[in-house]
């Protein structure tokens, strides 16, 4: 029952959010090779510790919130908009 601070709405219960996925991935350019696309579509790391991920505030403003979360303790270390660079400030 973690809480996530939406940059637009403030701290909210995680039940208002839908987990989206890994926020460390960048969508390849359209003409990138098959390997780049394969990595983007299928390959995910499963880190133990801080992990950057997207959660959508589906029962709120519907923004995509970038969340730095410790997968071991479930502690939310930092949140921001999709444009924010959290890793630098969050750790």
């Amino acid at each position: 029952m973690i809480r996530i601070t939406c940059p637009y709405c403030g701290p909210r219960d995680h039940q208002e959010f839908a987990y989206v996925g890994d926020a460390t991935l960048t969508r390849p350019s359209d003409d990138a090779g098959a390997d780049a696309w394969y990595d983007f579509v299928y390959l995910r790391d499963n880190p133990r510790g801080p992990h950057l991920e997207y959660w959508q505030h589906v029962h709120g403003c519907r923004a995509f919130v970038k969340v730095l979360r410790d997968t071991l303790t479930h502690e939310v270390l930092a949140t921001g908009t999709a444009a924010d660079d959290l890793v630098a400030g969050g750790r």
Binding site: M1, I2, R3, A18, V20, A23, R27, P28, D30, D31, A32, A34, W37, Y38, F40, V41, Y42, Y54, Q56, V58, R62, A63, F64, T73, H74, E75, A82, A83
Partner: protein, 1004 residues
Amino acid sequence: MLKLQKPSQPFRLEEGGEIDRLAPLAFRFDNRRCIGYRGDTLASALLANGVRLVGRSFKYHRPRGIYTDGSDEPNALVELRTGDRREPNTRATTIELFAGLEARSQNRWPNLQTDIMQVTSLFAPIIPAGFYYKTFMGMPGWRFYEHFIRRAAGLGRPTADPDPDRYDRMHAFCDVLVVGAGPAGLAAALAAGRAGARVMLLEESDAPGGRLRADRERLDGAPAREWVTRTVDELDAMPDVTVLTRTTGFGHYDGTVISALERVADHKPVPDPFEVRQRVWHIRARRVVLATGASERPLVFAGNDRPGVMLAGAARSYVNRFAVRPGSRAAVFANNDDGYRTAIDLARAGIEVRTVIDCRAGGQGAGREQAAALGIECLDATAVTATHGHLGLTGIETAQLSADGRGIIGQPRLHSVDLLAVAGGWSPNIQLHGHIGAAPVYDAELAGFVAGSGPGASRSAGAVNGAWSLGECLRQGSDAGGEAARLLGFNPGAPELPVTEEAPVGPIRPMWRLPGRGKKFVDLQDDVTVDDIELAHREGYQSVEHLKRYTTLGMGTDQGRTSSVNGLAIMAEERGIAVAEAGITRSRPPVVPVALGAIAAGDVGMHFAPTRRTPMHDWHEANGAVFDHAGHWLRPQYYLRPGEDAGDMNRAIAREVIGTRSAVGMVDVSTLGKIDIQGRDAAEFLNRVYINGWSTLPVGRARYGLMQREDGIVFDDGTTSRVGEHRYFMTTTTANAGMVMAHLEEYLGVHWRDLDVTLASVTEQWGTLALAGPRSRDVLARVVDGLDVSDEGLPYMGVRDASIAGVAVRLFRISFSGELAYEVAAPADHAARVWEVLVDAGAGHGLIPYGTEAMGIMRIEKGHVAGGELDGRTTAVDLGLGRMVSRRKFHIGHAMAGRDGLTAASRPGFVGLVPVDSVSRPRAGSILVADPQARPPVDKLGHVSSSAWLSPSLPHPIALGFVKGGRERIGSTVWAMFPMRNEAIEVRVVDPVFLDPDGERLHG
């Protein structure tokens, strides 16, 4: 004259206790009429009435009695109440007595005294741990045996009727949450409350006090109960303190959230009017103090399960709190000083205490002398080695222990007793700590596991933290409550602690199992014995988690609170390692059983999920619609006419298809997803999300679009219209409306943040209907204002604004049925009006409303893809829509759609299927094969994706499907197999467009 019989409670003490002797309560146990008092639990009332045998054990059906006085009870599980409130496996020790209570013993047949299933006890040597599974699992007929095994080993019977009670869910917030209102919890709540913090205090039983209610402690020179009363009064007077009784914290979650079950009305015959039975609380606290106390451990000796054997702390609770004698002639068996305190309390209550049997050779505290002074025999370095009695304890044998405690010296001695109080030390109740990942740490001095540090803002105080003395519990509680308040910015001031009067105690001697012949039960509820643990060790199930699952140790309703530590310590001895090294199993919520009804709370029946109704719903209902569920939506499936019933379904569906194809039909399509797309880059956005191109679409035109997932598989389809220079109106399928919206939002919010596009879901803002059939234009022309609906004014795929009966509408000339057809979108509040105006206008043209069945048949006749084809496995090429893929742009799925596996010629392609006999109906889901007689494994050629069992337009049933080779197979036959129904139907592969392949109808 009526003579009132004096309630007979032969084991009730004349005075003392917290029971109200002026409030007698009649109840029944196994149809025996009994009387207890307000303040009793069912367990204490049964003991007062001399009932010692209350159930049979799970596996061996051995006679069992009351073992504890709380929620850790392993034995005294009963079926409570009757009819639709009948509940199995309730603990007699936590059921507060109420007038008219009815309870029955479980797990016995025909009755408790004569239980036929006890013969399993005779076979006990051949029913070791894992017996049932080893013997029957994997054998042919496991399902058959399972039924009887479960019956033999089952517990109570739940009611099969709907639950008549209501449940509630509450979310609460506080500064400091204290779980457990024993001395430590009360001191913590007091310290935090006095500092001004917002405090919640949870107490499992009916009133605060914890062990202070069960033991004869003194505080500030008076009985400790007086301090409890003073403290509760002070807490009650604080405006920001909430004390919840009958409330058990059962789960501890991230973010310092405790879930708790409040038994609001379980102490009443039935809940009061408008009262819920139970309430689940989710409490988010800034700090938590866990003061959950400890559970006493049994000693593991031969015959330790007989009714009359009871934990020592429970025995003290029954004499002190409930004024009940749990026996007449008692012995106490202990490995710590609790034995003497118990003997003294029992003797004070008039029980003849014959002997205290202490495993220790020396080092006892002051209690031993006090007990000896009362004339109680005190045996050192001695153990109970056997018990006697058929349905209840009649005697025990004791023997001198060898120096290492593993053997006995000399001849056993017989003692005639009917009560044996057993004190094996205490296990801190660290379950809530475990939920958030605090690792248990073994403390050899305490002979118990305490919680190590864990994440979050929780700390523990009192017995759960290994504080065995009252003074230490109070001090830890006060410190923890004060610290929690201070960390939150409150000023707790100096603690004020009451003065205790405690005698010094000697150290415990851990004795995990004792010598002697016979069954030694470790887990009474699951009938796990020392032999089972030794067997698990021999067979290699040595880790505590394996031990638990192999023997079922600790898997009962008590979650091993009395058994886990003994069991793993015995395993540690077998392995020759320290208890600390063996560790303890991870605890998980819930700590106590929680009814699913309480978790669901109000989310039941119609409140389980929302029901979505379209704006035209009332009209459908008034005009014979039979509704079908489409997600949360209710959609008309077909319409019955007056005098028809469900048996006329096929007639109604055929009528709707024929009516539409021959004249005009109208269907409610409001459930389709609708998305308003605006922005300078809207066309570019559509180019990227659809496989086909949008740059050339002029204002006032619609286009069919197909979306892919990033992996190249088709995701959804629909028509999207350009309604302005930078504005589009997208429709999605009903099923995917929410997913498409989130999908588009993700690309705009994450990947393409530079695009100037905004989205709004407008599904519920528009009511939409489709008007289809050769007369549709005639009907429309009668009602539309401000627009020429001729082929020139509103050409195929044209989109125009107009008005109908004063309502501004948007008209689309698009068709799903293959007929000349229009869709009309009206603001939701006015859509029903537009629908009715069209019904009236169509009356002279033979207009007929149609439902989803007719709609489905007509789309299959036209070979249009829908849910059966867009099944998350098909590509645009598979669907025969490869020509739509634009080569002049990139789009989602573009890169991955080109993978070898998705472009292989061997992939099944989209075709139509017709039964060769023109009568049989191939089911959707049938597998297509070449040879119906072939022996498995059979090569699969494809499958049937959609099926129309009746096609009024054609002389035979039709189906759509995918078959290897696709259109190249047209003209040949394959077999549609449906093995679950033993069906094999020969079908001819045909073009998927069964009707009007040139689209003459479409263009009117």
